[in-house]
C-alpha cells in the first residue's frame, strides 16, 4: 500500500492571480524541508497538493518536517488505493486498524471529486461504515463528536484513505513576501519575532553583534543554535556576525551613561540596514515589546526608528512576555534563550537608563562620536567589512 501526504493550503486559496506562484513556492519549500530525510515528489491536482515520499524516505520524518512548512493549513497521511470499493473496504480496516481498535466512536466522510465514480458520497459512507462495524463490533457511529473520522476521497487518479488531518504551520510560504533581516541577540523575543515574520512568508537574514571579550564565542554559538531552530520553519537563514566592540567602547567612553543603550541600538540599526541591503532585504525585524525594558518605551522606539530608513517590523510589540514565551516553547527556542551568556545587549548596561530619551539630545550626544579623532563612520565601515557570514540550516 502506497502512503502519501495530502496538503491543504492555508490562506493560499485567497490569493487570486498570485496563487500559482504561491503554490510553486510552497511546493519548493516542501521539497526542501523533506530533502534531508530522503526527499519527496510534490504534485498538484484538483486544488490539492500531493506529496509522495521517494524511495527510502521515512514518511514520519517527512510529515514532521512538512508540518513546519508555512502556507499549509492541514496535512494528512493517506493510503493510496485503486478506485474500486472491493479494494477500498479492506484497505480502510488495514490502514486504520490501530486507530479503529483504539476508538470508541467514528464516522465516515466521503469526498467524491471524481464524479464518474459509481457510488455517490452518502453511499460510500454507508458502505464503508457498515464494513467497519462488521469488522470492529465494539465501535458505534457518532456523527457529531467521533473519536475517529475515516475519510475516503475519490479523486481522478486514485482513492485516498485517511483519518483526521494534523494542523499545518499556517501562514504563507516563505519566499512569497520578500526578505527581512532580524536583529538577534540571544534573548527570548527575537527568535519568536523571526519565526512570526517567516510565518508571513518572509525569507530571513539575521544580524548579531559580537563584542569580544565582553561577549564570548558561547554567545555566538547560542545565536546559531537559536537560528537553527527557527530555520526548521523558515529554511536557510543568512547570519551576519558583526564585530561591535570598538563602537560599543566608543559609545561607553564618549556618550552619557544614561543614553548608552539607545545610542547603541541606533548604531546597531544603522549597521543592520547596510547588511540587510546587501542581502536585498526590505525591512528589519526586531523583538521589541512596548514597555518591556527601558529601551522599549515609545520614546526610545522613536529614537531607534529615527536611525532607520527602512521599516522595522516588530511582530511581538503588543505581546506579553508570557505570550512570547508560549511561542518560544512551541518552537523550542526557550531553553536555549535562557542560557546565561553575556550578549551585546547586556554589556555596559547603565544603572539608570533614560526611559524617555529625547531624540534631539541623543543625536546631540552622538556628535561626540562623529569627531575626527573618533570617526564612528570609519568604525562602522570596518565593522561591516569584518562581518562574518554564516549560513544557518535547520537543526535536523
Amino acid at each position: 500500500m502506497n502512503e502519501i501526504i495530502l496538503i491543504k493550503n492555508g490562506e493560499l486559496a485567497l490569493k487570486g492571480l498570485n496563487r500559482r506562484s504561491f503554490e510553486e513556492t510552497l511546493a519548493k519549500n516542501i521539497q526542501k524541508a523533506a530533502a534531508p530525510f530522503g526527499g519527496v515528489k510534490v504534485w498538484r491536482s484538483q486544488s490539492t497538493m500531493f506529496v509522495t515520499p521517494l524511495e527510502g524516505t521515512d514518511i514520519e520524518d517527512a510529515v514532521e518536517a512538512i508540518a513546519k512548512v508555512f502556507g499549509i493549513a492541514a496535512l494528512s497521511r493517506a493510503a493510496e488505493i485503486p478506485k474500486d470499493m472491493d479494494e477500498i473496504l479492506p484497505a480502510v480496516c488495514e490502514y486504520l486498524g490501530d486507530e479503529l481498535n483504539d476508538a470508541k466512536t467514528f464516522k465516515v466522510n466521503a469526498k467524491r471529486a471524481d464524479k464518474k465514480f459509481p457510488l455517490k458520497s452518502p453511499e460510500i459512507c454507508a458502505t464503508v461504515g457498515e464494513y467497519i462495524l462488521d469488522h470492529f463490533p465494539h465501535l458505534t457511529v457518532d456523527v457529531h463528536d467521533p473519536d475517529l473520522i475515516v475519510t475516503v476521497e475519490i479523486r481522478d487518479t486514485s482513492a485516498y484513505i485517511h483519518k483526521q488531518p494534523i494542523r499545518g504551520a499556517g501562514g504563507l510560504p516563505v519566499g512569497t513576501g520578500g526578505r527581512a533581516c532580524v536583529m538577534i541577540s540571544g534573548g527570548i523575543d527575537s527568535p519568536v519575532a523571526s519565526w512570526m515574520m517567516a510565518k508571513r512568508g518572509l525569507e530571513l537574514s539575521a544580524v548579531n553583534f559580537a563584542s569580544p571579550p565582553y561577549t564570548s564565542l558561547r554567545a555566538e554559538e547560542k545565536v546559531k543554535d537559536l537560528l537553527s531552530k527557527v530555520a526548521e520553519w523558515s529554511g536557510e537563514i543568512r547570519l551576519h556576525i558583526v564585530p561591535f566592540t570598538e563602537i560599543q567602547e566608543a559609545i561607553r567612553d564618549y556618550c552619557p551613561e544614561d543614553m548608552l543603550t539607545v545610542i547603541m541600538r541606533r548604531y546597531m540599526i544603522k549597521i543592520a540596514q547596510i547588511l540587510a541591503r546587501k542581502d536585498e532585504a526590505l525591512a528589519l525585524i526586531s523583538g521589541e515589546s512596548v514597555g518591556q525594558v527601558a529601551s522599549q518605551t515609545l520614546r526610545a522606539l522613536e529614537c531607534t526608528d529615527a536611525a532607520a530608513d527602512m521599516p522595522i517590523l516588530r511582530p511581538v510589540i503588543g505581546m506579553d512576555k508570557e505570550e512570547i514565551v508560549t511561542i518560544a516553547r512551541r518552537i523550542d527556542t526557550f531553553d536555549i534563550s535562557i542560557q546565561p551568556f553575556e550578549d551585546c545587549c547586556t554589556v555596559f548596561t547603565p544603572k539608570h537608563p533614560k526611559t524617555k530619551p529625547v531624540l534631539e539630545k541623543i543625536m546631540q550626544a552622538e556628535k561626540a562620536l562623529e569627531a575626527d579623532e573618533i570617526n564612528v563612520a570609519a568604525m562602522i565601515e570596518n565593522a561591516v567589512r569584518d562581518t562574518q557570514l554564516t549560513i544557518i540550516t535547520p537543526d535536523r
Binding site: P212, P213, Y214, T215, S216, L217, R252, D253, E257, P340, F341, E342, T346, F348, K351
Partner: protein
C-alpha cells in the same frame, strides 16, 4: 573564541581538569588495544582485564593508605558524592535527622543534601569567613546527638581553603557515634597526603581527571565493615555496591596517574615548587592596583582566587582566552551571578563579580605566571570601567 595570537597556550585551570599524563594515556590505550575483555568474564581475556583492574585498585588504595577492598570505582567525583550522601542518609534514617555540611561544598554534595532536606532531614550548612575558612568550633557546635551525616570537603575547589575535616570526624565520634562522616577529597588528592587512617572518615571521594587521568572515573573509599545501601542495582561488579561493567580503560589510567601523583617524595617536591609559584603569583598580583586575593594565606597553594574589582570575571576570562591563557571564573555563569562559593564568602559586589581562579599543576612555571599577570594588567587597562 578565536585566538588572537599564535602563542603557546598557558593552562592555569587545573582544578577544572588536568591534561592526562603519558602514563595514564598508555594505560588506557593498553586496555583498549590489548586487555579489552570484560573483567567479569572468566576466560583468559576477561581475567587479564580483571588483573589490570586489580592493579589499578591497589594503586588507588595505596595512594589513600586504604585496603583495595575499600575502594569502589565510580564514574567520577559527582557519583561518588551522591552514593556517599544518599547512602549514609538512607542507612541512618532512623538514628536522627541532622546533616552537617559547609556552604561551600561542591554542588554534587550541596544539591544532594538539599534533596534530603526536602525528604525531612535538617541540613546545617556552615558558613565560611570571607576567605573560605570554617572553624573547628563551628563544626563541633553543629554536630549534635541527632546528627546522622557529616559531609565536608578537605579543600575547597574555588578558593583553596582547607576545611577542618579532622575536627569534623572528632566531633562526630564524640557527639554522634552513629553519624557517618564523608569527606570530599577531590581537590586534595594527589596534592597533599590523604590517609584514610589519619583522617578517620567513613567515606572519601576522589576523582581521576584532577590528577592527570582522563575524565570518567572516580572512586569512593568505604571503610571496611560499613554497610550502606547502593543507589544502583544490577550486577556483582564493585562488590555489588556500584554495579555495571567497569570502565576499565579510564580506571587503569586512574591507577597509573594515582601512583605518580601520590608518590610521597614527588608529591612533597611538587608541593614546595607550587607553593613558591603561588607566593610569586600573589606577590606579582599585589603589584596591580586594586587586586585583592580571595584565597587565604594558608590555602592549598594549587589554587589562587583573586578579584580585579574592576572587570567582570566573564569579560576577563574571554580576554585571557583570546590570548591563549586559560583560567576560570569565580562565577559559575554570566550575567553577574557569582557562584555559591563566592556568594558564601560575602565579598563586596565588585570583588564577587570579578573573581578569577588560577589553579596550578606541576607543569606551570614562573613564565606562565608572568604572562598571566601581565595580561591581566593589560586587560584591566583596556577593559576596566563600570560593570
Amino acid at each position: 573564541m578565536e585566538r588572537i595570537q599564535d602563542t603557546q597556550e598557558i593552562y592555569l585551570d587545573n582544578s577544572a581538569t588536568t591534561q592526562p599524563c603519558p602514563e595514564a594515556v598508555a594505560a588506557a590505550n593498553e586496555m583498549m588495544v590489548r586487555f579489552w575483555g570484560n573483567p567479569s568474564s572468566t576466560h583468559v581475556k576477561g581475567s587479564e582485564a580483571a588483573a589490570k583492574l586489580r592493579e589499578a585498585r591497589r594503586a588507588v588504595a595505596s595512594a589513600l593508605s586504604a585496603a583495595p577492598e575499600e575502594i569502589f570505582f565510580t564514574s567520577g567525583g559527582t557519583e561518588a558524592n551522591n552514593i556517599a550522601v544518599f547512602g549514609a542518609a538512607a542507612k541512618n534514617r532512623r538514628n536522627g535527622k541532622r546533616i552537617v555540611t559547609s556552604a561551600i561544598e561542591h554542588s554534587s554534595v550541596l544539591d544532594s543534601v538539599a534533596e534530603l532536606e526536602k525528604q525531612g532531614f535538617e541540613v546545617i550548612r556552615l558558613a565560611p569567613d570571607s576567605h573560605g575558612h570554617i572553624s573547628p568550633q563551628q563544626v563541633a557546635e553543629a554536630v549534635n546527638a541527632d546528627t546522622v551525616l557529616v559531609t565536608m570537603m578537605m579543600v575547597n575547589n574555588e578558593v583553596g581553603s582547607i576545611l577542618p575535616v579532622e575536627a569534623a570526624v572528632r566531633a562526630a565520634r564524640r557527639n554522634a557515634p552513629k553519624a557517618i562522616v564523608h569527606c570530599d577529597c577531590v581537590q586534595a588528592f594527589g596534592k597533599i597526603p590523604v590517609s584514610v587512617k589519619k583522617l578517620g572518615a567513613d567515606l572519601i571521594t576522589v576523582s581521576a581527571h584532577k590528577i592527570h587521568a582522563p575524565k570518567g572515573a572516580g572512586a569512593l573509599y568505604k571503610r571496611k565493615g560499613l554497610m550502606i545501601p547502593s543507589l544502583t542495582h544490577g550486577g556483582h561488579q564493585e562488590d555489588s555496591f556500584r554495579p555495571g561493567t567497569e570502565a576499565a580503560p579510564v580506571i587503569a589510567a586512574f591507577g597509573a596517574a594515582a601512583a605518580i601523583a601520590c608518590d610521597k617524595s614527588g608529591m612533597n617536591q611538587r608541593y614546595e615548587t607550587i607553593k613558591a609559584l603561588r607566593d610569586y603569583t600573589t606577590q606579582r598580583l599585589h603589584g596591580i592596583d586594586g587586586i585583592v586575593i580571595n584565597s587565604p594565606e594558608d590555602a592549598l597553594p594549587y589554587i589562587v582566587n583573586f578579584s580585579t574589582c574592576c572587570v567582570k570575571a566573564e569579560t576577563m576570562l574571554n580576554f585571557l582566552s583570546e590570548r591563549g591563557i586559560y583560567v576560570s571564573g569565580g562565577s559559575a555563569c554570566a550575567k553577574g551571578e557569582p557562584s555559591h562559593v563566592i556568594k558564601a564568602l560575602g565579598l563586596p559586589r565588585d570583588a564577587a563579580d570579578s573573581a578569577i581562579r588560577v589553579s596550578f599543576c606541576g607543569h606551570n612555571t614562573t613564565d606562565d605566571v608572568d604572562t598571566l599577570v601581565n595580561t591581566v594588567a593589560e586587560g584591566i587597562t583596556r577593559l576596566a570601567h563600570f560593570h
